[in-house]
Structures are given as C-alpha cells and as structure tokens.
C-alpha cells in the first residue's frame, strides 16, 4: 500500500460519507442540495477565470514551440506543416488535432528491458494511455451533456438524440447508456495504470490519484442510482431546475446517495481550478503548442528589452578623433 493513493482514497470515502450521513442522519438537505452546489459553481468560475487571467498576463518572451517534424527550410526540403508549423493556419490545425485527438499522447512510448537473454533496454510504442484518455474524455463529455436533461424543461431534441444514440444498444432496463459504463471503465483503467505500472507509480502524487478517485466515485454513485438503487428522477429534476432558476426546492423522498453524488460533483467543481484538471484551460495557452515556429523568417523582439545605452563606433570616433589622429591611428572621417 502506498500513502499517495491511500490518502486520496480515504478522503473521497469520507467526503461521500459526510454528505450521505449529513443528509440521512442530520437532515442537512439544504446544505448539500443548495448551498454547497452554488458555492462550488462560484468557486469553479472564479478560480478558473483567476487562473487563466494569471496565465494571460505572464510574459512569453521567446518562441518555444515543440518541434516534431521538419522545420520550414529550403524550397526542396519538405516541411511538416502540422508538427512544425510556421503559419497560424498550421498552428490552428495542430491545436485542433491536439485538443480533439490528443496527438501528443498518441506518440507515447515506454522503455523496458527485453525479456530475452540480451536484456537490452528498448523503447516501444505504447498506445493504451492514448486510448484510455480518449475513452475517458469523450465519455465524460457525453455524460456531462446528457445531464443537461436535468437543467432544461422541455428537453431540447438534440439532447434527446444524444440520449437515443448513447442508449442505442437497448440493453437491460433502464437501458444502458454506453458513455456511463465507458467512463467508469476508463477511469478504472487509468487508475490501474498508475497503481500497477511501477514506473508510473513512482511519478504519481496524491494530486494525481485524488481526481481519479473522485471521478470514479461520481461515476459509481451515478451508475448505482440509475441501474441498481433507483431514485425518484422527477423529484431530482425539481431540485436541479430549482437550482438553475434560483428558486431552489428540496424534494421529498430523495435519498442520501443522490446528495452524496451531488456533493462529490461539487467538490470536483470547487477543486478543479486548483488542480491539474486546469489543463482544460491550459491546453489552449501552452506556448509550446500555440506558437508558430517562424523565428528564421520573422524577427521577434523580446518585450522585456529595455533601452540599452549604446555607444557606436561613429560616436567613439567623434569623441576621440583628435587623439586618434595624434597617435597615428586610422580614422574613417578626417574631420
């Protein structure tokens, strides 16, 4: 056992229990159903804006794009326009592919000793992090979008279409949503990777495990409510609609599991800006990705440059001309 994942795991358990017992035992429905969710949204937005504005105001004096292909050079040398872009179109394409397809993860490699007698160290392509990340991010996106059915009434047809596509396998009752199952499995895979691969365990901190456990807790409690323990969905929707129309009501007959789910989501929102999850905003602002590599074509002046007092040769000669002529040194201008 490793305290780096034991502490976050315990924390998520405790957070769950705090909300569950707080509602079931102490009857704090108002706190966990209204007060904390509002606070979490405020903390999320304020923290997010604060972080991004902080990044926006920091100086980026140098062009530091990572280059993963041939730079623009002589006309007969083929440039890699996406991986080493020199125009803003190339940069845009690179960013779009990075944001939607995670190309840099696609290039992930692993180092391992060969299992034969030679026992040499070799590097090989490792695609599973990329696959797990894609599955996780896209299923989470669909799950979040699906939740808009609790915040809109009547529910827009595009959301109904999304639900229809997500539940197209018509498995079980209520029908299985593929995104929910994929979300839980993908987070479990990403966790297993951190726990079981010794090299990844070594570089994993509590701040890496905590969001994973939190999202696993959210997914597990959500799936449990939908498929196993069951909840009064109309009651829950009156609460969520009350929240977004600023006239919150606490419905009767909704149990602690829902409030625990809501509390974990609130914690995720509030924790988001202070965590590594801020790569949501950071990916757009990473100077190694969003800059064109055109330093050979264009002069970029360091914005930090102050006015340096220079003393050119002409000024030097003007200053010392007579003395130079006296000493017999050559001068550019005799006068």
């Amino acid at each position: 056992m490793n305290q780096k994942y034991l502490i976050p795991l315990t924390t998520v358990f405790l957070l769950f229990l705090v909300a569950y017992t707080g509602v079931e035992g102490a009857g704090l429905h108002q706190v966990f159903g209204i007060f904390i969710p509002y606070l979490a949204v405020l903390a999320f937005l304020a923290g997010f804006v604060y972080k991004v504005l902080g990044w926006a105001s920091s100086a980026v004096p140098f062009r530091i794009p990572t280059t993963c292909g041939q730079q623009k050079s002589l006309p007969w040398i083929k440039q890699n326009c996406i991986d080493n872009p020199d125009t803003s179109t190339g940069v845009l394409l690179r960013m779009v592919l990075e944001i939607f397809l995670f190309r840099s993860l696609f290039r992930n490699t692993k180092a391992a000793f060969n299992k034969n007698e030679s026992n040499t160290l070799s590097y090989s392509w490792e695609i599973f992090l990329w696959l797990g990340a894609l599955a996780f991010h896209y299923s989470f996106l669909v799950v979040i979008l699906r939740h808009f059915r609790f915040f809109t009434s009547p529910v827009p047809s595009c959301l109904k279409f999304l639900e229809y596509m997500d539940g197209i396998v018509q498995l079980g009752l209520p029908g299985l949503f593929i995104s929910g199952a994929v979300l839980l499995l993908a987070t479990l895979f990403l966790l297993a990777r951190r726990v079981l691969d010794a090299k990844v365990t070594y570089i994993s901190q509590a701040a890496d495990y905590f969001p994973l456990f939190l999202i696993i807790g959210i997914a597990a409690s959500g799936l449990s409510m939908r498929y196993f323990t069951k909840v009064d969905i109309v009651g829950i929707k009156t609460l969520t609609m009350g929240l977004v129309t600023f006239s919150p009501i606490i419905p009767e007959g909704v149990g602690g599991l829902f409030y625990a789910h809501l509390f974990l989501v609130s914690i995720l929102f509030a924790y988001f800006p202070a965590s590594k999850l801020m790569h949501l905003g950071g990916i757009f602002l990473s100077p190694t990705r969003n800059m064109a590599n055109n330093t050979r074509a264009k002069r970029h002046v360091n914005p930090w440059n102050y006015d340096v007092k220079t003393h050119t040769y002409e000024e030097y000669e003007d200053h010392f001309r007579e003395k130079m002529i006296e000493a017999g040194l050559p001068v550019d201008k005799e006068e």
């Binding site: 937005l45 991004v52 809109t152 009064d232 977004v244 905003g281 757009f284």
Partner: protein
Amino acid sequence: MNKNMIITGLIIFVLAVLSPFWFNIITTIEAAPKPELLGNAKEEKKCVLEKYDMRANHPSLLDEWRDSVVRDSDRQYKAANGHTFEMSLSTGKNSCLGCHEDKAKFCDSCHTYASVDPYCWECHTNPKEIK
C-alpha cells in the same frame, strides 16, 4: 496567443458553464408535473407499491412482471400492503391503466419531463385508443 483571444475564449467558456442558468431565462420553462389520482385510482387508494417506492422502482417492477408473465405465466402479484394485483399493464380493470385511466397524465407527463422514453408502447396499446 494575444490577450483579446484569451479573453474572448474565457467569456465563451464562462457563458457555456452558466448556460443552464441563462438558457432557462430566455426560454419558457415547462413546470414539473403534479401527479393526481383520477378515476378508479382516486377511489381505490391502494397500489402495488408505496408512493416514493413507486416513483423510483416502477420500471424494475414492470420488468419483473414482464418476465413473470411471459416466462412463468404467473400473473398474480402480492403487494407489501397485503393486496393481490393482476400483473398487467393495460388489459382489464385491475391493470395499471385499468385503474389509472389517463395515460397522458399517468405515464407521459413525467416521462416527458424527465426525458425518458420507455419502449412499453411498442408492444402494448393504451386501452383508450382501441376503438
């Protein structure tokens, strides 16, 4: 990235996060349906499950009923309150819709509100519609 682009992106993001709030201001909201007992149900006042249990668990109950009827031809359901009911969604006086007569109010209003689209009516018919 220049500052204007960052600020524009940030504003779009904040608006997207706040969309549940402003979307409900610019559109008219359909209020939550208020369940009411009509017809036979109003007089009977006894059902297969308790109120909140029913709201949460009726899909799985109907699922169990379907298996029981189709596979074991067992149509009798003994409820926790001691009464025995006929396991049927839409046939006969003792079925769900025999007692709760108005499908639009009894089923559809909540299903539409919660954006749930059960496939009951791909096989069953609303008894009121057969005429």
